[in-house]
């Protein structure tokens, strides 16, 4: 503990430290300089390609992939063309850029994934230099060709090649260049001697960094910071210019007194004292903005890996992290620090020693009201420490301090404990991911799990998910899915075994998409396995697209139906319609009533003819009949209409629907009758119902014809009487009405006569019929013609209470006093009975 500050070096106001991450477990046969190297940021893997240059083509170079701790993950002889550059994508894929501009993509276990080309122009003029860069849009590749032109792809997952404009005056390779992302665009900064240019899609702009010391005649090296915000330039006068990458502001300029070109430069963006780390063969300089420099001698070839919060240094035997000491750590561990965190740590130490000094320290913090601050510092510092022992000491101190606070929120402490447990697990050299807490927070737990999955560390990934209580579908289930996708590609096991194992493991996990796994199986040529796996898929809908792809259409159809999603059923049906011949298509539908009725709906709106075929196939005569009926209404010509109706009669007969057949025949007869009469009398009748036809005939006085229809179509007497009554009243043909009333005994009684007359305001006519009304309806009839007197008589005579009431309600208390009295008396006697 006392030695925490042993590896600290002051730089301006701040301190820098170099933390040992790993003893590299790789056994390299040669010096690192013999290799082409690419190390991924965020503690990612390291790829090495030995003997990549100047060897005879017969000796195959070896491509090796290691974890950051030097544990071998893959190794295979390189069989393709000459590799100019290696690099890692944001999703842990290895990019190998060949001289001819082809980029090969491997996963981090050495599996070939795909390749793509950087375009004709590149392959013709060959790759001279390459840089692989990361931006918010993904991983990009920038190439300088033999023709001294730059070609750029911003995102290798969505390749859009951009050829940048020419750099004026460039005759040989530029002294140095870098890619930066500005204004949502990737640009290239090129130095040609002392001149600096920025290339974007359309233009090449000459630029000068503000305040660059004039002694220099050439720019030797440049580097852009992790965030693309800052730029550092090293000139042949030994000066390092530091400024913003938009070249608007100079931050500092420092003389290193070294005029050799360096091997590598990296920015370290820090909270207090940012710096540029420059590496020569045996020397490493940390050049601070404050113009101070820290020197580290190097004993062997090294590689710098810039990170967001430091620079990693890898050499043949060691792996270190160089970074500014984080604020909280500095506060606590700085010698003679009186920061609250430092005091709390001290207090806790004394407490462990069972010394009363603990209380003194604690009081001192509490008096300043800084205990909460102290706890926070300790927790934060623990996050930045690499040694579990140091972490524990700090966390214990924090926990101790927390006891004296009444309402300190526990989340901070708890989540730090959790994070550290996970971080320590992945930092273990067997896993080899030296993530800092800051990096971990930046990359998120999701990405960390992805990385573990890429390394096929499924059990660890699941443990992490469970431990961090990640929601199942984002955590455990997702890991299991990846595992299963990997599993189904293992060719040596039988379909049965794999399907069983997969299902066993995945049984309890929720939200698993078996169809994704099945797709993977199908893609690796295992259709049978895919079908087996699909059976476990709870989402029937998800199964459908893959089943269609595998040409298992009957199964796809039944799964679509099972899902209940009718749109999906339609999709399959339409697919089948195009895929199968009509006969087979209909047969398949026939076995799936749900699909069939949906398809019928579709046809009803879109393809009427097909609808008919469908009904024909099913011998559905009733529906065929209906179909012809509907069709007949679209037919303006009578003959065609009748013909269609005849077809429906035939169908209705076949369907044994006697009623419909007869009704249709009647309609045909009616239509013919209407036509005949229209021609003879010029009355428009066609399309009227029988009822309306008769009414129309009566209203124009064609009584005989009306009579004929009445007889021919066996219209019920009641209806005919009503009809004629209303028609005649409408017409005001009162004589005819009277004649009609007398023609024979009315089947509807005579009250309707009274009422209809009244409705047409003909009280006089109405009275004629009152006498013929049956006794039961007499009261109503009298009331209808407004004869209160007679109504009263009738009601009293019938001794019917409700009728008496009805009459009463129509009597006015002032004018009909006598009647009211009589009625009330009668009511009383009626009630007595």
């Amino acid at each position: 503990m006392a030695f925490v500050t042993a590896n600290w070096n002051p730089l301006g106001e701040a301190f820098y430290r170099k933390v040992e991450l790993y003893d590299m477990s790789w056994k390299l046969k040669e010096s690192l300089r013999e290799y082409l190297i690419a190390a991924a940021p965020y503690g990612g893997p390291i790829a090495l390609l030995k003997g990549y240059q100047g060897r005879s083509p017969s000796t195959r170079p070896q491509l090796e992939i290691f974890s950051a701790s030097g544990v071998p993950m893959a190794s295979f002889p390189w069989k393709s063309g000459l590799v100019k550059q290696l690099g890692w994508t944001v999703s842990d894929d290895l990019l190998c850029v060949q001289e001819d501009g082809t980029v090969l993509v491997y996963d981090l276990l050495g599996g070939f994934k795909r390749h793509f080309s950087m375009g004709n122009e590149v392959s013709q003029s060959q790759v001279m230099e390459t840089k692989i860069f990361h931006s918010p849009y993904g991983t990009g590749v920038a190439i300088l060709t033999g023709a001294l032109r730059f070609t750029l792809a911003t995102n290798i997952d969505d390749i859009k090649l951009k050829r940048l404009p020419e750099v004026p005056g460039l005759e040989g390779a530029p002294t140095c260049w870098a890619v930066l992302t500005q204004d949502r665009q990737s640009k290239v900064m090129v130095a040609n001697g002392y001149h600096l240019f920025i290339l974007d899609n359309t233009s090449c702009t000459s630029v000068t960094p503000p305040g660059l010391s004039p002694q220099a005649s050439s720019i030797l090296h440049m580097c852009v910071s992790f965030s693309y915000k800052y730029l550092a330039i090293l000139t042949d006068s030994g000066h390092v210019w530091m400024g913003t990458s938009n070249l608007k502001e100079k931050i500092s300029e420092v003389d290193t007194n070294i005029r050799n070109p360096p091997k590598q430069m990296a920015w370290h963006e820090a909270s207090q004292q940012s710096s540029v780390v420059i590496m020569w063969d045996r020397l490493l300089l940390v050049v601070g903005e404050c113009k101070e420099i820290i020197q580290y001698p190097l004993d062997s070839d090294s590689v710098l890996v810039p990170e967001m919060d430091g620079v990693r240094i890898i050499n043949e035997t060691h792996h270190e992290l160089l970074q500014e000491v984080p604020g909280a750590c500095e506060e606590i561990f700085k010698i003679a620090s009186m920061a609250p965190g430092a005091l709390l740590l001290e207090a806790h130490k004394e407490y462990e020693k069972e010394s009363q000094k603990a209380d003194e320290y604690l009081r001192e913090i509490k008096e300043q009201n800084l205990l909460a601050e102290a706890v926070k510092q300790c927790v934060e510092a623990a996050g930045h420490e690499y040694e579990p022992e140091t972490q524990k000491t700090l966390l214990r101190a924090a926990s101790f301090g927390k006891c004296f606070l009444s309402n300190f929120p526990p989340e901070l402490f708890i989540s730090m404990c959790r994070d550290l447990r996970v971080l320590n697990a992945v930092r273990d050299y067997t896993v080899g991911m030296p993530l800092t807490h800051t990096q971990f927070k930046q990359m998120t737990i999701q990405v960390l799990i992805d990385r573990l999955v890429h390394r096929k560390l499924y059990p660890l990934a699941i443990e992490v998910c469970r431990y961090l209580k990640t929601p199942e579908y984002q955590g455990v289930s997702r890991v299991l899915k990846h595992w299963a996708c990997y599993k189904v590609q293992q060719k040596e096991e039988s379909d049965e075994v794999i399907a069983k194992t997969v299902n066993m493991r995945l049984a309890d996990a929720s939200g698993i998409s078996y169809s994704e796994i099945a797709t993977k199986a199908y893609e690796s040529g295992r259709t049978e396995l895919a079908i087996k796996l699909l059976e476990y898929e709870p989402r029937s809908g998800e199964q459908v697209p893959l089943l269609l792809k595998m040409k298992k259409s009957p199964l796809a159809l039944s799964k679509a139906i099972e899902s209940g999603d009718t749109d999906l059923v339609y999709t399959v049906v339409m697919y089948l319609k195009n895929e199968l011949n009509r006969g087979d298509f209909f047969m398949m539908l026939r076995n799936q009533p749900v699909a069939l009725s949906l398809y019928r709906q579709f046809c009803k709106h879109q393809e009427l003819n097909t609808l008919m075929d469908l009904f024909n196939q099913d011998d559905n005569h009733q529906e065929l009949g209906n179909y012809y009926v509907k069709a007949s209404y679209n037919e303006p010509r009578l003959e065609a209409r009748v013909a269609l109706l005849q077809s429906s009669v035939d169908e209705f007969n076949k369907a044994k629907n006697e009623f419909a057949a007869k009704a249709t025949e009647e309609e045909m007869r009616l239509l013919r009758f209407q036509r005949k009469l229209e021609e003879a009398k010029g009355e428009p009748l066609l399309g009227f119902s029988l009822h309306d036809t008769i009414t129309a005939l009566l209203s124009v006085g064609l009584h005989k014809h009306a009579e004929q229809l009445y007889k021919d179509f066996r219209v019920s007497d009641k209806r005919f009487w009503w009809l004629k009554l209303k028609a005649l009243a409408e017409k005001g043909d009162w004589d005819e009405l009277e004649k009609f009333a007398k023609s024979k005994k009315s089947p509807i009684g005579y009250l309707p006569f009274v009422e209809v007359c009244i409705k047409h305001q003909n009280k006089h006519e109405a009275r004629k019929y009152v006498s013929r009304v049956t006794p039961e309806q007499k009261v109503k009839a009298h009331l209808a013609v407004g004869d209160l007197q007679s109504a009263t008589e009738a009601a009293i005579e019938r001794r019917n209470e409700s009728e008496i009431n009805t009459v009463l309600s129509r009597c006015s208390a002032t004018t009909d006093v006598i009647l009211v009295e009589r009625l009330n008396r009668a009511k009383a006697t009626a009630a007595k009975k």
């Binding site: 209940g564 009725s597 709106h605 009623f659 309609e667 119902s689 009822h691 309306d692 009641k718 129509r810």
Partner: protein, 649 residues
């Protein structure tokens, strides 16, 4: 604006807010000014979610109705189509876009030739929003028409269950019954299941599911499957609902056929309530200005919202219409008494308090005026006798005094006779004979839907009609109303509303007796004023669907196994596992909450009956109602017709 949604036990405003959030998110996705082209059918349901003001806030500047030909020109950046996933609509959209592109390119050329590039309008961004779900079939159609690539955004707006009132959800899916039972197209059931999943995501898993009917079974199956599918993606929430009851409309075909006799039900029967609004003849709502004599009456129908946001309406909507007059006059007395208070207000403090209550009182007064008018309108149609009807106490807007306004009611015997026949059928009187009233109505060519409602009712109450009788009615109908109705009759037979009697015994009387569907004794005193049974909503008839719901809560369906077997479709019970720790600990005396879902529609009277059950003191269960669509006999029969016709009254 929608605060009334949060009044009830279950805060349905959460659902509405969720829907609004989705809408805003979509609108913001199309940045810049926009015009919405509406599938006309959707405007009503959307009105329940968001007013124009919300759209305006998100830069919606114009709204059009989707139709063939050109899109009206509008100087906006985005054109957004809000449509149901229907092929015929896709064709219209494709035509719109093709024309737009043609004209646009034409104009461009013209301007470029004439060197007036400055006049060039920028091309529009097209977007399409499918409601409630996007459809591969439709996208395929757009692709075939070559316009799929013209769309910047193709999205879906999942709008299944729309909060309609504080205890009512509706999918506003007009043809759901027709699709499910006539056309065997179960799309709406899929949406139902999806909607219930959304509901469960917001309000927690519903532990118990009961159901009766084929469609109910299908929905329950889909829900259980979806539960497995979504497993793990749902955030566990404490369940709000204890039980879900799924009921097929075809389990109870009778209830919607009967004329509803609650206040709200009658408004719906007479004027029709659409998407929570009713349109009324304006005469009765004319401002009463004595001097001018009210000569110039408004001609536009008066459109009023009907929901529980209005205190008075919430109070009277579910009453039997007979009791509404009394309730209104009581209310009038209270209000006028409240206004009289001002004479007693002596101190400044008292006056201040009085003034603070004024807005509320004035709202109550205008609400009273509105409902008095509506009640008068309804009364004109339904009043039983020719005597002077209830005295409505009417608070006039202008005069400060309370005027006693006696309203002489017009008679309508038609309504009364119709009701008598309905009640005869429901009590099983002469259901196997030709009904002279129906005969007379046909002979007089009364509206067809009225006839169909009655004939269907007779058939349902007799468990089918004798073939001869059925054929007789059918023949009468065809001869009177026209041959084309043979299709409608065929449809009614397919869904079971009309059927020939099979050899089986008529089981309706057994059902009626076991379930106590007819409550003779409660009739007069109870139906109107102090009901003690749900039968008050139909003045004697207790809706079968609600009776089933009631019996499920107590004593349970096991007691009526026999009757359940007589009704169509399976009945079932499912349990959904709750995550540990989410089991509700019920306080003693705390009510259970049941969601009753009517597949194929529900009437206002049924809702009233369920609300009545919720309010019963010893009921023990509160009901939230969900449905595919709010229906009444007329709208229901109309949806089954192939040639719709004028409404009933």
């Amino acid at each position: 604006m929608a605060s009334h949604l949060s009044y009830s036990r279950v805060n349905l405003n959460i659902l509405r807010e969720a829907a609004r959030k989705d809408l805003r998110e979509f609108l913001d996705k199309c940045s810049g000014s926009k015009a919405i082209v509406w599938d006309e059918y959707l405007t009503g349901p959307f009105g329940l979610i968001a007013q124009y003001s919300l759209l305006k806030e998100h830069e919606v500047e114009k709204m059009f109705t989707l139709k063939g030909g050109h899109i009206p020109s509008a100087a906006v950046k985005n054109i957004v189509f809000f449509v149901r996933p229907r092929l015929e609509l896709m064709d219209i959209i494709a035509e719109n876009i093709a024309r737009f592109n043609y004209i646009h390119s034409h104009l461009c050329n013209l301007y470029i030739q004439n060197k007036c590039e400055d006049k060039l309008q920028p091309p529009r961004d097209f977007h399409i929003l499918f409601v409630p779900r996007r459809s591969l079939l439709c996208e395929q159609r757009l692709k075939e028409k070559g316009v799929l690539n013209s769309f910047t955004n193709i999205d879906e707006y999942i709008l299944d269950l729309i909060p309609y009132d504080s205890d009512l959800l509706s999918m506003e899916s007009e043809n759901s019954f027709r699709e499910c039972y006539l056309e065997n197209d179960q799309t709406s059931l899929y949406h139902t299941a999806k909607g219930l999943m959304t509901l469960q995501a917001l309000y927690g898993t519903i532990p118990q599911i009961f159901g009766k009917g084929e469609c109910a079974r299908h929905v329950a199956n889909m829900m259980l499957r979806m539960k497995r599918e979504f497993a793990g993606t749902l955030i566990p929430t404490l369940p709000v609902f204890d039980t879900l009851l799924l009921l097929d409309r075809n389990v109870d075909l009778l209830t919607p056929l009967a004329t509803q006799l609650t206040y709200e039900g009658l408004i719906d029967e007479v004027y029709g309530i659409t998407n929570g609004y009713v349109k009324l003849p304006p005469e009765k709502f004319a401002q009463k200005k004595q001097e001018e004599g009210g000569k110039d009456l408004p001609t536009e129908p008066k459109k009023l919202p009907l929901n529980s946001a209005e205190e008075l309406y919430a109070e009277i909507r579910d009453k039997n219409f007979n009791a509404v007059g009394a309730a209104l006059s009581k209310k009038a007395k209270i209000i006028s008494a409240a206004f009289e208070e001002r004479h007693n207000a002596k101190t400044v403090g008292e006056i201040k308090q009085f003034v603070s209550q004024l807005p509320h009182m004035q709202a109550a007064r205008s609400s009273l005026a509105n409902h008095t008018s509506i009640a008068e309108l309804v009364k004109d149609i339904t009043s039983k006798s020719k005597k002077q009807s209830y005295l409505f106490i009417f608070v006039s807007r202008n005069s400060r005094s309370v005027i006693l306004n006696s309203v002489l009611m017009q008679t309508s015997e038609v309504f009364f006779e119709n009701l008598t026949v309905e009640q005869e059928f429901m009590t099983g009187v002469d259901t196997d004979k030709v009904c002279t009233y129906i005969e007379d109505c046909i002979a007089q060519k009364d509206p067809l839907i009225k006839i169909l409602r009655l004939v269907c009712m007779q058939s349902v109450c007799n468990n089918g009609l004798k073939q001869k009788l059925l054929d007789y009615y059918k023949r009468e109908i065809i001869q009177t109303y026209g041959y084309e109705h043979i299709l409608t009759l065929n449809n009614l037979e397919k869904v079971g509303l009309l059927k020939p009697q099979s050899t089986m015994r008529n089981n309706y009387p057994t059902i009626r007796k076991t379930l106590k569907l007819w409550m003779e004794d409660t009739n007069e005193q109870a139906c109107g004023f102090n009901p003690n049974d749900i039968s008050y909503v139909y003045s004697g008839y207790a809706p079968l669907s609600v009776r089933l719901t009631q019996l499920l809560a107590r004593p349970g369906w096991r007691s009526i196994e026999e009757v359940l077997k007589m009704l169509p479709g399976p009945h079932f019970e499912e349990r959904q596992q709750l995550p540990a720790g989410l089991h509700k600990k019920r306080q003693p005396g705390e009510n259970r909450t049941t969601l009753v879902f009517f597949l194929g529609g529900v009437t206002y009277a049924e809702i009233a009956a369920l609300r009545f059950l919720s309010q019963m003191e010893d009921g023990g269960t509160e009901y939230i109602i969900a449905t595919t669509k709010l229906i009444n006999g007329t709208s229901w029969i109309k949806s089954l017709m192939d040639h719709p016709e004028a409404p009933l009254f």
